[in-house]
Subunit: 345 residues, 4 copies
């Protein structure tokens, strides 16, 4: 019998992507979906692409909780904490795509999101889940903090350097570019077509909420305090993130062995592709898939290594990694339901 999975917040972009993936998952079934904005409507009323595919009615959060064993939540900040308490009490697995459980440092959470940790015990139970980096903790976890899209691209791109002491950890430059789905389905000035098409620029320069999340993760990987300058940009494409990262190397590093370092680190990983020397990552090649492509570019001139990491922000950066984490948490095949091949065009 299939696992009953439910989605709270199914009409946001990450929610819809979860629907798509769950409908094709061999061992889970999408049992219920809720939406505050569209409760009582069909998902296909909101997204005509889903006609004949998913015509069920959007219910409320309580119904999802009642009917499902695994709860995916894609909610505004602050709403996942009370939900986690309910899931915990009811013995359900919560995979939270919001920010409530991503930071371990309550002060940082307060500073960047404005809220407080309502129950420290839940935070202690929760696992921050970049699947490849924290796999052992994810197995059996019951509250899973699914990472942000930018932090996923950054952490996967830098982990081999940080774990091996190759990188100076102060002031890593992370220049990221994201497609517009990262800004969500709500109408905004910066994603109004004539403002966004034939346009490009940074936003939230050195002040984006993913900064503390990236720093916490890099610090943990490095075993010592890491700081970053993080600048996201808005790309005129629907999907995808490219992070171009500039790392000063330590004495321990041997730039010409960077490829070997990464290949060793990610050997056997089904979703990480370390590109061979001379190739360059491009979001085109990972779109609509759960892959993370990483390319490496030593700059002997300045003693830096440039690391380029690219993912689909909606898949590996959100719904795909959430499915991967469900698979891990429940002991399923890690790749189940994630066989999407990037379309290339």
């Amino acid at each position: 019998m299939k696992i009953k999975a439910g989605i709270i917040g199914a009409t946001g972009y990450a929610g819809l992507e979860l629907v798509r993936l769950l409908l094709n998952h061999p061992q889970a079934e999408l049992a219920a979906m809720s939406s505050v904005s569209f409760e009582g409507k069909r998902l296909s009323d909101v997204y005509p692409a889903m006609r004949q595919i998913e015509d069920r009615i959007l219910v409320d959060e309580d119904t999802v909780l009642d009917q499902c064993e695994v709860i995916f939540a894609s909610l505004p900040h602050g709403l996942s904490q009370p939900l986690a308490a309910r899931c915990d009490a009811a013995g359900k697995l919560l995979i939270d795509l919001g920010a409530d459980f991503r930071l371990k440092d309550e002060e940082a959470y307060h500073q960047w999101y404005g809220g407080r940790f309502e129950d420290q015990a839940l935070h202690d139970k929760s696992v921050y889940a970049v699947s490849e980096l924290f796999r052992e903790e994810i197995k059996g976890a019951r509250i899973i903090a699914n990472p942000g899209c930018y932090p996923t691209s950054a952490a996967l791109g830098l982990a081999p350097l940080l774990k091996n002491g190759w990188a100076e950890t102060e002031g890593i430059v992370i220049d990221s570019k994201s497609g517009t789905t990262g800004a969500g389905r709500n109408l905004k000035e910066n994603t109004h077509f004539p403002n966004c098409n034939e346009a490009f620029g940074p936003y939230s320069v050195a002040s984006h909420r993913h900064t503390p999340e990236i720093e916490e993760t890099l610090t943990r990987l490095a075993g010592r305090r890491a700081t970053i300058t993080f600048v996201p940009h808005l790309l005129p494409v629907n999907r995808g993130i490219v992070s171009t990262m500039y790392v000063r190397l330590t004495g321990a590093a041997r730039p010409q062995e960077a490829w070997a370092l990464y290949e060793d680190f990610y050997r056997g990983e089904p979703f990480i592709r370390v590109l061979p020397q001379g190739q360059t990552a491009n979001l085109r090649d990972v779109r609509c898939s759960n892959y993370c492509d990483i390319s490496l570019h030593p700059d002997p001139h300045t003693g830096r290594l440039v690391v380029v990491s690219t993912i689909d922000n909606m898949v590996k950066g959100a719904a795909g990694q959430a499915i991967q984490n469900m698979n891990l948490a429940l002991g399923l095949e890690e790749t189940a339901g994630l066989g999407m091949i990037p379309p290339a065009f």
Copy 2:
């Protein structure tokens, strides 16, 4: 044991799409792929999106023929006729994505493509395969002419009217718009990014090679001679076709019952979605899927019905329909390997 399928011409866009679909097909396996231009290379050398997914070497046509029971061919005009002879002799199923077997009228073929029918017997055996319209003939066929992308959108959009005598068959206007993948992977002036982006216009006005194919099919559906004015346009998107079709109605037609007519005609079809009154088809909703969406718009002012039909040119307009036809020809579940859900964004 899985059916061994092979692709001749695997590095063109339709070829790559076939690869993607076959790799996820539950009852077929991709046994071999050929490419004249890239023989000896890996498919992933040509399309980096395929790294770790399909790294096998591209072989020659003979090897594909040797190793496979089902041959998908995506070749320039004229090359499929000799291939069909070989497949026929060897008892293999050929699904031809080129134009060689699409037209039954040799004079039309000669006029529009310049060649001749080399062996009329092969043409007699071949089946023109819009899956939903000619399903019974496709079952058990051994030479399948997979329809063109524009003709698929037009025939599916107009069939209910023509089969029921609702449409005047002289001078139907078909105004179609296609994404750039329709122009193929070869570099061309009109698909050079700065020429194509922020640009739009028709091409091959009233002179496109798909004109006779559409007319043959409409004539066959109507049971009397049908003529069209067909104007394709190039859209600055990767995928998708929208055909906006203008039909003068006969006395038999009752415009307000158009939705019922279409719903009856396509009842139970897994890949045809007749949109309810008030909704409008958009290529966004079928992209990367095998769906054909059809919306209907009576214009009482002029006594016309406007029919809008949209497909993904690479899927329902090429590789997806080819898989559907393989499934039909071999008696597999018709939807096998075609469960792709359009991503909506």
Copy 3:
């Protein structure tokens, strides 16, 4: 001394385009601009592209009326009628980019826009102003109804046929495609980037408000009742309209002389380019300019002529034609301020 021109509704897209054009006009100066939504702000606060170029404060309508001799109005339906009364009383030239004075038939206006003609005398004074087609009337006019974008492309494309009795006037098919600026600066679902990018489809099929405006104009040109089926589509580009028009020819027509007919009709016109046989109009070639390109395509097969007409919806379809009309009304050089060369990329 320069003519003092003012804009009421300067922060809409047509308003901003007027600002751009007036700032480079050799004989007019932009004296004042109003905006209901942004009164008291600078135009460059709303459009950062205008920093250092136009940093004046947006005022109210009364101030514009006080300070200017020529008033350009870009307002929602219904608001231009009272404004026209004020301009008329004050002896000022009004160039209205809204719909209030476009239709001569009050019943049609009521049916499509919901309002009434408040003062028939003003409507009698007003001139519907496709510059090339109604030039003599525009000279000296004091209330100018600047045509809609789609109607401009349609009327310019069909005028030579209709004036010369070449076209059957019943049921002309006009299949138009517009860039997203046509939908305006207000945020809407259909111009949210992820909904609009990699998307395409029709809207308001056979029910768009420009239908009666086009029919009135074609009827006037033909000298007998003309009807159309008009279907607009939304293109994923910022600017431009392409109208593909399907005309059944009368016995008077000689298709091979179509180019000569058009060249004669538009001889000496600075902004109309009749393309030579074998070439096809594309919005790329008129973007950001006041040109209208027209290409002709006989279809002997069905006895139709396909006419393709393309303009920049914001320039020839709005602000550019408004300037051209001001020039005509005031006896200035018709091309003054309109020397923009389309950038080609």
Copy 4:
């Protein structure tokens, strides 16, 4: 009488942009244009956007030299050196949009471009011409090296810091993103629409030819050796460059006074817009204009200043700056012919 200007290499993208600008220049006339690929054709045969605007025949290089006083050259590497010799002998002003005279260091030229300095005297006469930074040298110069597009954006963005000793000059990170016109009009895999649309990634990572040009300029501005890590990316837009630059500040710097520093430095400059605190540069706001927008973003967390600089690669990054340099060299009004207002959409 107007100055006679000519273009050698008029059918490349920079060449066409020069045509557009010269046709609207009040004090210069476009007297002749050459093209090796299209000699004998009309410019409007190559670019249909130019129909009726510029229908003259493309001639050969000699004719341009004969007929013109000012020569703009947009040629492949190596071809401008012999041309400069001819211009010098004939007393003509050469504005070279190629790379031959950009580098003062012959070894660097040899390393990155493969050629040699054929006549050092010509190089000594030549002036590297970022208009705002080297204005005094440009006045009266006879061989002008028009800077590369990336170097223009970088130099303008960093000059105030470097001239004032605010920046650590080792290892400045320059992460740049360019529209596709930067890759030119020749067909290439990476600018084939389906490869480039819905795609994004870096290229020539830490190995782009503009690296030594940027370093020479920054070194000169700083008065001490500057090194950079430079990574360009290809954006799916037609025009525009955004450079996001990461600078470690020296003890001399007072980040909160950065805006004042830049405003002082660029006070009175007609084409440089230093954005106020809180605003962010976007290529949308400079497209099709000669502006360079600069925004500043201190990152107290890491002691860095992030500088964002954006230009239109075809205008301020090529043809526009070339016109500005002609104006300076000949003592014309510096802004003559450069009044283009960015369209905002």
